[in-house]
Symmetry: C2
Subunit: 314 residues, 2 copies
């Protein structure tokens, strides 16, 4: 039996202990713990990596602390536009959605795109229509409302600024960046791996902007031959860097290990283009890595060797 493992993230950025209250810290930790447990129990019960990452991301989407699903940030128009992707490293099948509203769990929609359509990427109204046809749970605006995100939006909306910040109200300083995204990667006992990412994007985003999260190769990628990767960070830079697939190519073509490839992309290549953020990864032997170049990243991992970690700061 293969070692099985899971890693999750809830976003990276300027997350500093001095800005955090004990209550907030406990709430974030509980959100991570719940999602980790959701995903890990799938693996423990003999489930697949694909089901494990979907379960973990559903849990993170349902947790109002994270910028995905229920806790998604507000766009410039006061709406929620969510992006999500999922990829199966065994088959290289992938599904993704961009700019979708009202869908309770965008990761489930991404999975439906992968399994029930002949497409990889659907967007906007069309993606919502597909979600309804597939019988996925639809919620009204009140479900997605949170005072926290609303206040955050009010802070930036009239300045025509786009906030990368996860919880900018802690400090309105431009230096305070928190990239709100959630993601999971897993390796199951069969040695198959998978990755998933979900996000509400940038606070006050405009023009139906799409980041790296739903883009196969940029924010999300999985291939049994190499790795499964989920990114979080300044999406535009991760898009240009084709960050997730770059890790895979460094492993496949240069013979780097998962950790070496993720370190090189995150701590060297992305840093050189000011691509702030991080990523989590797993390979088909169940090795995990959690790397970020920002001050913090909400993250957790657990494996069948008994290792478990839940962390926020550097």
């Amino acid at each position: 039996m293969n070692q099985f493992s899971i890693a999750i993230h809830g976003g990276a950025g300027t997350i500093l202990k001095q800005d955090m209250t004990a209550e907030l810290e406990a709430a974030y930790s509980k959100g991570l713990e719940d999602a980790l447990s959701s995903g890990y129990s799938v693996l423990e019960n003999g489930g697949t990596a694909l089901d494990a990452v979907a379960a973990a991301v559903v849990s993170l989407e349902d947790c109002i602390m994270f910028n995905a699903g229920r806790g998604s940030v507000f766009t410039k128009n006061g709406t929620h536009e969510m992006d999500a992707a999922i990829m199966d490293g065994k088959t290289l099948d992938a599904g993704a959605v961009a700019g979708v509203s009202s869908v309770r769990n965008p990761v489930e929609l991404a999975l439906a795109v992968m399994q029930k359509s002949e497409h990889v990427l659907l967007s906007g109204e069309g993606a919502l229509q597909f979600a309804k046809e597939q019988g996925l749970r639809i919620e009204d605006e009140t479900y997605f409302f949170s005072q926290f995100r609303y206040d955050q939006w009010q802070l930036v909306k009239n300045e025509d600024k786009i906030a990368l910040d996860h919880n900018i109200q802690v400090s309105a300083s431009a230096k305070e960046k928190k990239f709100g995204t959630v993601g999971a990667v897993a390796c199951d006992r069969f040695g198959n791996i998978a990755a998933s990412t979900s996000t509400g994007g940038m606070t006050n985003k405009n023009y139906n902007r799409i980041g790296d999260s739903p883009i196969i190769g940029a924010g999300t990628y999985a291939n049994n031959k190499t790795c499964a990767i989920s990114c979080t960070g300044h999406g535009e830079l991760f898009l240009k860097a084709v960050a997730a697939y770059d890790v895979s190519c460094l492993m496949e073509y240069k013979g780097m290990s998962l950790q070496e490839a993720m370190d090189f992309v995150t701590l060297d290549k992305l840093v050189k283009i000011n691509g702030e953020g991080g990523m989590i990864g797993v390979d088909a032997k169940g090795n995990t890595a959690l790397v970020f170049n920002s001050d913090g990243m909400y993250r957790a991992m657990q494996n069948s060797n008994g290792e478990k970690q839940i962390a926020i700061y550097r």
Copy 2:
């Protein structure tokens, strides 16, 4: 002075001489010749690779023979939803739009996203709003109408089929595939390279489907260190393969030449996953390559060594 060169494509697929009339062949050849000339003259006059690919793609978008801009296919709703991307290999700056309507030249919008916004990828109504703010040319539905595309759409729309076909009316057989996309890659006398791709997508497409064309790394990529690539083919497979960036990684990490890397991705890796189509590429020395695994690809190239080619069939 560096050798300068340009390559363009107008889509790949089951393009067979026996299905073509002399008039159609002449019209396609003229469309390619005009676009090649538009792009090459930019290079000849000392312009940049970025301006050259934009000029060539504008010409292809304006030509009703190709599935991009004016000649875009119909969606299931009878509309036109266009995708485009452009990337500058010197700076790694990129811009793209997905599912945009009414914009006369989506490549110009992609360029505006790159140069005038802080984003890489805009979509749908938001992308159109940005286009209007930027003063780009907007056209009504009559501009995008063509009897040819309308008849093609009628053939498939009631069957709930999505046609990958460029001109399916030549034969309704499922084996007859023509992937309608246009693209250009260029290397200028300064040794800088760029790539651009534009498409109307699949006939009768639904759910605001997005293919590989506007996705940096999949359908479009440029990096002076390696290559500039524009793809055409079955978008979903090119997305999963992260095809354009794969060529770049094979060059950077495995030391392959442009031709070797494009051959490997197009004729081996994509064939293994039934990823029908092709791609054009250029490196920073001005070498060009035009590779496809389908029966034909509308294509052309010209360089400052006096080489010039316009071709359709294998």
